[in-house]
């Protein structure tokens, strides 16, 4: 224990006047009595019987000295050194992602982090403000810059872990916004499953790590598709532990166990399992890892077969075998090939792929232009690739490093376009969202490059086609991650959609101009979207599964450090600093003792008064 203002202890000198006043007061009044004989005997008796009476006589003085001592102590502002990570105003980023539900730290990592946050709040000084941000799929500010401990604690008590991944970029933006213009420190309470690099945060950043074990098995992929011999499923299980693991996978079709497969997963790797012998009429596939690991959340996954929704693709090409093959292998795609000069059939197409320049006008809709785009397109040959948007999902698994392009057309970049591949002379690949449909522009003839020969080409085609084609039918077959909103494609005549969640709640969405979007996908499990027409007739009922499917979350290994901006922040050791002041308690105690003193004083006088009155009454009647 120490004192912030030890000079205030000098106030203890006030006890001298108190004692002096008492000594003055105790100069006794002289009273003549007929005889002191009885009083002498009385005092002899009393001192023999109750020696502590002498103390009680000065009870009031002792109480006053006690009050003075308490107040002096309170003025000196004593503090206890407490084990805390940060003092002063803090922004607390509390990780509520799925991996925080791991129970390697009993009861769970989340509870440990919550406890750490509580201790952090307890260690704050009286004037220190705190901000509490829960980092989940949608980071939320639980308590904005406030010094109200009660509100902070209540917010902390109410927060629950989510089943989804954490969006650290948004969380850091929130933290930076709430710390703006003030001297605040940031504390990250997490198991370290954060992106490689976080945006830089204001003030000093502390990282409090929770979690101990890393041995976790998690399903990171469960996908179904219609194969040639019935439905197929792909299951991928990741092992984040340091030892290879054996697990058996229970497979249930519509809730009925139909297969158990053993699976060996090497350490820090994943193993896949392909299932070909699924029942034909399967509507819901559930895979469950029978294993005891810290994070049970990712041991179960569900998949629904995609509806055989046929997407019609029109390919306008003078002849491009690579493109034709790549498009034809896409599942659920019905490909129609026409020469550029052939008249278009009157049917509606989900996607028109335009290979090479074209003269005739095309109907509005999703479009993939391969070749010149725009009226003033010229040819350039400075086609060395300078930049690729490698983190864009459309370029996932697409390697542009070995791609060479002989010549390309310049393009009029449409408004709002994303340039995915940039060469010296201009963009090579750009995508854009237009009101009339999605647009992708590949600004070179495939024959003028070696891209079709690369392994990247079919992947690129699949990615682009997956983006350009509208979501198939309704929600069926979709793989949704917890916390992500899901647009529900209404069927014709549907007036409302009712989504029932795994925990039995029902959410009603109305169908208006906008696409109904179901956003309450907080928990993993099987949801069901039912579409009704205006008369209340069930038109369609689709199950859809919300899965974790996040290797980063399944990898629960606690990280020793996180990178924030340029700096690496290592896990902080609690107990570095922190002074917990407790002068309000002392002041309160002084107030309480003051009350006791008042009571003692008044009790004494009241009782004395009673006795005297009664004594006189006796004298009168006697």
């Amino acid at each position: 224990m120490g004192f912030l203002t030890p000079l205030a202890l000098l106030f203890a000198a006030l006890s001298i006047p108190i004692l002096l006043l008492y000594m003055l007061k105790l100069r006794r009044q002289e009273v003549l009595v007929s005889s002191t004989l009885l009083w002498q005997r009385l005092l002899r008796d009393r001192q023999a019987n109750v020696p502590w009476q002498r103390l009680r006589r000065n009870l009031l003085m002792l109480l006053q000295l006690l009050i003075l001592a308490l107040l002096t102590l309170a003025l000196a502002r004593p503090f206890l050194p407490t084990a805390t990570v940060a003092s002063g105003s803090v922004v607390i980023l509390l990780d509520v992602s799925a991996s925080m539900q791991a129970n390697d730290v009993p009861p769970s990592r989340f509870e440990a982090a919550r406890q750490a946050a509580r201790e952090l709040l307890d260690g704050l000084g009286p004037g220190d403000a705190a901000t509490l941000i829960a980092v989940g799929p949608q980071p939320t500010v639980l308590a904005a810059v406030t010094t109200d401990r009660t509100a902070l604690r209540r917010a902390l008590d109410e927060v629950a872990p989510s089943d989804g991944p954490a969006d650290w970029e948004d969380a850091c933006a929130l933290a930076a916004a709430s710390a703006a213009g003030r001297d605040a420190q940031t504390v990250i309470l997490s198991d370290g499953a954060v992106p490689e690099t976080l945006p830089s945060l204001p003030g000093t950043v502390h990282f409090v790590r929770v979690g101990e074990r890393s041995d976790n098995l998690g399903i990171v992929t469960l996908a179904m598709r219609e194969g040639s011999a019935g439905p197929q499923a792909l299951l991928r299980v990741a092992n984040s532990g340091d030892t290879s693991a054996q697990a058996s996978v229970e497979l249930r079709a519509d809730g009925v166990l139909f297969d158990v497969r053993p699976l060996a997963i090497p350490p820090h790797a994943s193993a896949a399992l392909t299932l070909d012998d699924l029942p034909y009429d399967l509507s819901l596939l559930e895979a469950r890892l029978v294993v005891d690991d810290p994070l049970p959340l990712d041991n179960v996954a569900w998949a629904t077969p995609g509806r055989a929704a046929v997407r019609r693709v029109l390919l306008l090409t003078p002849g491009n075998l690579f493109l034709e093959r790549a498009l034809a292998t896409l599942p659920g795609v019905e490909l129609t090939r026409l020469a550029p000069d052939q008249p278009l059939p009157g049917e509606a197409y989900d996607l028109i792929v335009q290979d090479g320049p074209i003269t005739q006008t095309l109907p509005a809709g999703n479009r993939w232009v391969i070749g010149p785009y725009g009226a003033t397109s010229t040819v350039f040959t400075e086609t060395a690739i300078v930049r690729t948007a490698s983190d864009d999902p459309l370029l996932r698994y697409v390697d542009w490093r070995d791609v060479h392009v002989a010549s390309a057309w310049t393009m009029d970049t449409p408004p709002g376009a994303r340039v995915l591949v940039q060469a010296q002379g201009g963009p090579l690949l750009a995508v854009a969202e237009r009101p009339e449909g999605r647009l992708a522009v590949l600004a070179f003839d495939l024959h003028q490059s070696d891209l079709p020969l690369q392994i990247a080409f079919p992947i690129l085609v699949a990615n682009l086609a997956g983006w350009l084609l509208p979501p198939g039918g309704a929600a069926g077959g979709e793989i949704v991650r917890a916390g992500n909103p899901l647009p529900i494609q209404p069927v014709a005549d549907a007036a409302r959609v009712i989504v029932s969640t795994p925990d039995g709640r029902r959410h009603e969405l109305s169908i208006g101009q906008a696409l109904p979007i179901f956003a309450t996908t907080d928990h993993l499990g099987v949801y069901r979207a039912e579409q009704f027409d205006a008369a209340g007739t069930l038109l369609r009922s689709d199950p859809f599964a919300v899965n974790l499917f996040d290797p980063a979350e399944s990898d629960i290994a606690p990280r020793p450090a996180v990178r924030v901006g340029q700096a690496e922040v290592r896990a902080a050791q609690p107990g570095a600093e922190g002074r917990r002041e407790f002068w309000p308690w002392l002041a309160g105690a002084a107030l309480g003792v003051g009350g006791v003193e008042w009571w003692v004083f008044h009790r004494g006088t009241r009782r004395r008064g009673n006795r005297v009155t009664r004594g006189r009454g006796d004298a009168v009647t006697g």
């Binding site: 007929s34 009083w39 006795r611 006697g622």
Partner: protein
């Protein structure tokens, strides 16, 4: 000193004596001696020199032997009133009365106090001393009116003895430096003299009750009834003196007189008590608990005295001077069997 109504009432009273004793003069009490009264007592053989008038001739005629007829003798009784004249007895008057005036207003004794105000010689209120003197006067009146010999003695130390008695009332034992003044009276006619003498007395000084009583036992003359009026606030104690009196053959009555202030002290706070008699100081903090302790202590003290008296066959009567003296004399003394 006493009003006429009370005097006429108490003149009808007699002291009750449980033992017959020899007297000195003709009186109204049965004596141990055989004498000339009309009460027959005994026969005895005639011896030479006996008065022939007392020979019972009827017996002689029947038995032919002379017998002398004996009669009871009635003689007087020696009544000793011992008045404690120590400083502590002078309490509860004057200032005390003024201080507690409010509390006493409307009390039934108040009117009489006012009426008796003329009788007061020194302007003292109805304090303990006044009460004690009036009590002595009442007892003395009883003794005088029943023809007994009254000896009234003021127990006071010589050093601070403000002798209020007149010179003719000097005790014959003054040679022994007995710290008392003494008055010997007899006969109804002496009542006024008794009152005069009493009203001239003043209390003060330290009195050693033991010594005073012992000396009275040795030098007080014929034993008889002894009535001690005292507050017993005597540092050396009182027991030995009472024992000496009882051993001498006195029939002792102890009238323990206390002031209301002493029964229920109106004190409060941190005080230094000064003894009016000895000047001793005692620091005490009086609160409610202390007061209740005092009451218990006082009750225990009285019980202690009562036990000591019982073992010596001494009457013990407590009196508080806020009760009217008529009530005490006519009711309390009668109930205690002291008077009849």
């Amino acid at each position: 000193m006493l009003d006429a109504g009370l005097i006429s009432q108490i003149q009808r009273l007699r002291f009750v004596v449980h033992r017959t004793r020899a007297g000195q003069a003709q009186g109204e009490r049965r004596s141990t001696k055989r004498g000339t009264s009309v009460e027959f007592a005994d026969y005895r053989d005639y011896t030479r020199g006996d008065d022939l008038r007392r020979v019972d001739w009827n017996i002689y005629a029947r038995l032919e032997r002379p017998f002398v007829k004996l009669f009871e003798e009635e003689e007087d009784l020696a009544v000793h009133i011992l008045l404690d004249g120590s400083g502590s007895m002078d309490w509860g008057g004057e200032g005390e009365t003024g201080r507690r005036g409010d509390a006493e207003t409307g009390r039934r004794g108040d009117a009489e106090t006012g009426r008796r105000g003329d009788a007061r010689t020194r302007g003292q209120g109805s304090g303990k001393w006044e009460y004690a003197r009036r009590l002595a006067a009442a007892l003395g009146t009883i003794a005088l009116s029943s023809g007994d010999r009254l000896s009234i003695t003021l127990l006071q130390s010589s050093s601070s003895n403000v002798r209020g008695a007149k010179s003719e009332a000097q005790a014959p034992t003054a040679d022994f430096q007995l710290p008392t003044s003494n008055l010997q009276l007899r006969g109804k006619g002496q009542t006024l003299r008794l009152f005069e003498w009493l009203s001239g007395l003043e209390a003060g000084g330290v009195t050693d009750l033991n010594a005073g009583l012992r000396r009275h036992a040795l030098t007080g003359g014929r034993a008889g009834l002894a009535m001690l009026i005292s507050d017993l606030f005597s540092p050396p104690g009182y027991a030995e003196g009472l024992t000496a009196l009882a051993a001498r053959g006195y029939e002792v009555t102890l009238i323990h007189l206390l002031a209301p202030d002493e029964v229920e002290p109106p004190l409060e706070g941190d005080l230094r008590l000064v003894d009016i008699e000895t000047g001793e100081q005692q620091e005490v903090t009086v609160d409610g608990e202390m007061r209740s302790l005092y009451r218990r202590r006082l009750a225990a003290w009285r019980e202690e005295i009562r036990t000591a008296c019982r073992s010596r066959h001494i009457h013990y009567i407590t009196a508080v001077n806020d009760a009217p003296i008529e009530q005490f004399v006519l009711t309390d003394l009668r109930r205690e069997g002291l008077v009849r």
